[in-house]
Structures are given as structure tokens and as C-alpha cells.
Symmetry: C2
């Protein structure tokens, strides 16, 4: 195989209670990338469509993760990367992770799959670090593994693939405002109340149990966030109205996707998701803020070859 | 049925990462109680053996939980309670919970089982509150439900019974020193580092996953506590040596049981547990501190009629 085109999915990190550790993978939104072996060594980004991103490999998220793999693999050839970017940078649904994952997943295929999914995650984290100034894996892991993932630890890297109950859909509203990840991090307190932390870890425990038992009711009760959301939701216009609307229309839970501004609503069943999407659209249509709405099944396979 | 005798088991609360929410049930240590219907109304404690505890129902943990149920059930008869206490009060393995649970479990049987396990937990929490000045359920839930439990919330009470992998044994060392629950609570900080809280909830999530998948290796990696143990372990002589010894001899994890001073070592297999017990006994035999060691299978059934 000399070249291939892949679909690299958008992802939702944090998932309300699981700040910095939980994530899940989307199906109907993501980037496309074509990666080609070249006799010329090194990583060369030859095309970028959709958004204005740097072509220099060491300044491009997909390039940096690719270079990390290249350094380890040391093949006697190079790679050429074309990026067809659909996920808007800064949307909070893993735009940089999709780029970081795309190059290394495709290169691994072209190299004959020498690397495990966890190793791919490690390379992709180098690219992610370029975008967010720290190596984290809560968007990368679901993009690579699919479904729900738990990043048990970053050093050493330890990813757990959680089960994904049937018929889970997610509605994403992306208000077209900018929240920098660094700003969303800075707003968080360094210290949190022990009592709140207890609430949070009981919810993480019960959410993991709910995923194993396909207990949608318990899932719903677990999707709360008493630590991060009270701070970050202030950055997202109409957050409380959106959440209230989503819950009223049957969503299992609604929270900030990653560091925002996107907001996810997890739903059981396609019809519920459609109702929730319509209702949220009605809320935002009355504001002056431009927005996009996506409605996607949870993607249990993760990144794939097209 | 006019009378019955029950075995009310000891329990381990917190389980390293799951402070205030996780617990599991022991098999070979617990109290016995005989409960009898009486034509005389009210709750009457007629015998207490083992430890010196108050006979007045409203000052006795088993009496207070019994009174809470009696108030709700309003039968036209009363109950007589005999307590054969084996679990030393203040040992950290759920002594007060065993008392609180024993009376209401037996009364429920004698009343024809009108109450659910969650309702029994609610009554027992009233008794527990007498001992620890706050209503909590992390020892009560495993005593009633058996195996591993997660107290998702206290108000409203929401208990999750987690799966218990095969061949789990626990070694308990109980150094015969006194740590008051109130003292063990006072030593804890009101605020904790967000980063530590994240570590803790990732471990709770991965422990729940490990219980569902019988992944003993993951269980082992999850049994750490970066929030409470660093503070409370100072109250327990030779804690670090005991833990190091347990891990060296093959324990999956080792931590403070409840608020201490007992220390639990969770083990996969009877032989490992025996080795761990012997090794810990060797450590403590060299000190001047009197101690008891227990070795028990995890009890998946909870409290039972004898």
C-alpha cells in the first residue's frame, strides 16, 4: 500500500463527570486526510483545505505527531500529507486531536501496523501538545479506540476502552465563538472542595457501571459535573437554557464538550436526538450568535480507512 | 417466624480510591444477633456480649436503627434484641454498621420483608449516625447488599451493587489502637488539589471497569489513594511497611479500611492471602502493638440468617 485516505472523527472529552479522563467518539463529523509514501524522506504537508493551518510539519499538529512516529520508526522513505479539515479549530470537539491522530493512524497502516493503539495515542499526544501546550489524551483516545474511553493515566499512558451501550446518539451545538483552551484552563480553580470531588468520583464510578450494564437511567443520573461546569459554563452563552432544553426533550445528559464552546447532549435513540437537536436549534436561532448543530451516532470503531 | 439469629458482617469502606462511596463485605468476621418478636411494644435490648455497649435502645446503634424502622412500620408488637458483638468498636471495619444493619435486617424478615435493601440501608444509616455523627452508607451498603457497592448518593439514597470477581480474599490487620472517626475526619483537608481529584476519579472509574471485567491487574493499578491516605496513614503505626509488605507478597492493593486503624490487603486467591497474612503478622509481631489479623473471602451475599 502506497497511499490511503482516512476519516478522523471528532470527539467529546470530559463527558460531564470525567474531566480530563473520559471521552467518546463521533461518527458524522470529522476530517479527511490522504497520506502517501514518498521516496523523499521526512514529513511534507502538501495540501490543506477547510481552515488556514501551517504547512511546516513542525508547526502543524498532524505534522508534529507524524514526525514523532517517523523519529521512532526511521523508515527509508517519507510521507506526504493532505489535510481536508472539517472540524473547526477551537470548537471543543477535538479538532487538533483529529489532525494529530489522522497522520499517525494512516502512517501506521502504510508501515504495516508496527504500532499498537496505545503507541499511536502516544505519538498523537505530541501533536496535541502543540495545540494545547500540554500532552493529554482525552480526545485522542476515543478517536483512536472508538466508543467511550477512560484515560487511566498519561504517564505511563494507560487507556481503557469502555463498553458503549446501543443506540447512543449525541447532539452537538457549536456556538461560533472563540474560547481558548488556555483560557478555559485558567478559569478552573487549583483546589476543589473534597465534598465536590467525592460527588464527582461517585458519578464517574456510576457512569462506568452504567456503560457496562446499559443502564440509561443511571447514565443520566451520572452525567453531572459539580467541579468544572460551574466555572466554564459562564464562558458559553445560553448554556443553562440549552441544557434545560436538552433535558426537557429527553437527553440523558448535557454538558460542555471538552473546554467548549461546543455543548453535547447524549441521547438514547435517534428520535430523541432529533427532537433535542430541533429544540436546541430553536433556542439558538433566537440569539444573534451563529452556530452549527451536529447529530451523530456514537462511533464505536474510531478512526477508519475510507 | 417469631425469632431468628443473623450474622452481620464486617465491611471495608473507601477501598483506597473510593473515599466515602466504595465498600466491600467480609465473610469470616461479623456479629451475631438474635431478634425476637415480643407482645410488649418497642425495642428492648436484652443481652449484649463481647463489648460494653449501652442497653438503652436510643443510645445503642442497633437500637436506633430498629426504632427508625419501628416508627415507619408501626406493628402492634415489639422486638427484643440480643447482641453478640465480635467486631471491636472503632476498629475501622464497620462495627457500628454491622449493629445498625443487623437489627433492621432481622426485623424486616420477621415483618415479612416489607422493605427493600435500599430502605433497610436508610434505616441503618440512622443507627450509624449515632456512632459517627453523620449519616453515611459506605459500610452499611456492602453489609446489606454483599460484594462491592458504590454509594452513588446519600440524599436521595442510591446504592449500586458492583460485580465481584472470583477468588477475591482480603487480609485485615487491626492494630489495637484507637482512632476516633471524628479525629480521622478532622485530619482531612476541606480542599484538595484538582489534579489529585482527577487521579482519584480516574482510579474509581478504572476500578469499577476492573470489577466488571475481572481484570485483576487493572484492579491493582486502580487501588491507590492520593487524597485521604497521605493524611490518615500518619495515624496508623507502620502503615507504609505493612503496605509494602502486602504488595511485595502479591496483594492487589493495600489501604486503610474505613477511617482506620485497620488496614486491608485485597488479594487474588487464597494462597496469596495466606502469604500476605503471614508476612504482615511478621511485621507487626516485631512491634509492641497488640493486633488481630483476619483473612476472609469477599462475601458476595452480605448479611444472612443463621
Amino acid at each position: 500500500m502506497e497511499a490511503l485516505t482516512i476519516f478522523s472523527p471528532a470527539t467529546v472529552a470530559n463527558v460531564s463527570c470525567g474531566f480530563d479522563v473520559l471521552g467518546f467518539c463521533l461518527d458524522s463529523i470529522g476530517d479527511k486526510m490522504t497520506i502517501r509514501k514518498t521516496s523523499k524522506k521526512g514529513i511534507h504537508i502538501t495540501k490543506i483545505e477547510g481552515y488556514d493551518l501551517p504547512f511546516e510539519a513542525e508547526k502543524n499538529v498532524a505534522g508534529v505527531s507524524a514526525l514523532a512516529m517517523l523519529k521512532d520508526a526511521q523508515p527509508d522513505f517519507g510521507f506526504e500529507i493532505e489535510i481536508y479539515k472539517n472540524i473547526k479549530p477551537g470548537s471543543g470537539i477535538g479538532s487538533s486531536s483529529a489532525s494529530a491522530v489522522g497522520s499517525v493512524f494512516a502512517m501506521n497502516e502504510l508501515l504495516g501496523r508496527p504500532y499498537s493503539k496505545t503507541q499511536l495515542t502516544n505519538f498523537a499526544m505530541k501533536g496535541e501538545a502543540l495545540a494545547s501546550q500540554c500532552e493529554h489524551a482525552d480526545n485522542i483516545a476515543p478517536a483512536i479506540f472508538g466508543g467511550f474511553t477512560l484515560v487511566k493515566s498519561v504517564a505511563p499512558l494507560d487507556i481503557i476502552q469502555l463498553p458503549t451501550p446501543k443506540d447512543l446518539y449525541v447532539v452537538i451545538i457549536h456556538p461560533q465563538i472563540e474560547i481558548k483552551t488556555s483560557e478555559a484552563r485558567a478559569i478552573l480553580p487549583k483546589l476543589v472542595a473534597l465534598q465536590d470531588a467525592i460527588t464527582q468520583w461517585s458519578n464517574v464510578g456510576s457512569l462506568v457501571h452504567a456503560l457496562h450494564t446499559s443502564d440509561y437511567n443511571l447514565m443520566s443520573k451520572s452525567l453531572t459535573d459539580v467541579i468544572v461546569e460551574p466555572h466554564r459554563s459562564q464562558l458559553i452563552p445560553h448554556f443553562n437554557t440549552v441544557r434545560q432544553t436538552a433535558i426537557t426533550h429527553g437527553a440523558l445528559g448535557c454538558g460542555i464538550s471538552g473546554s467548549g464552546p461546543s455543548v453535547f447532549s447524549l441521547c438514547h435513540g435517534k428520535d430523541v436526538a432529533q427532537n433535542v437537536a430541533t429544540a436546541i436549534e430553536n433556542v439558538y436561532s433566537k440569539t444573534a450568535i451563529p452556530f452549527e448543530i451536529y447529530n451523530s451516532k456514537i462511533n464505536t470503531k474510531g478512526i477508519k480507512i475510507l
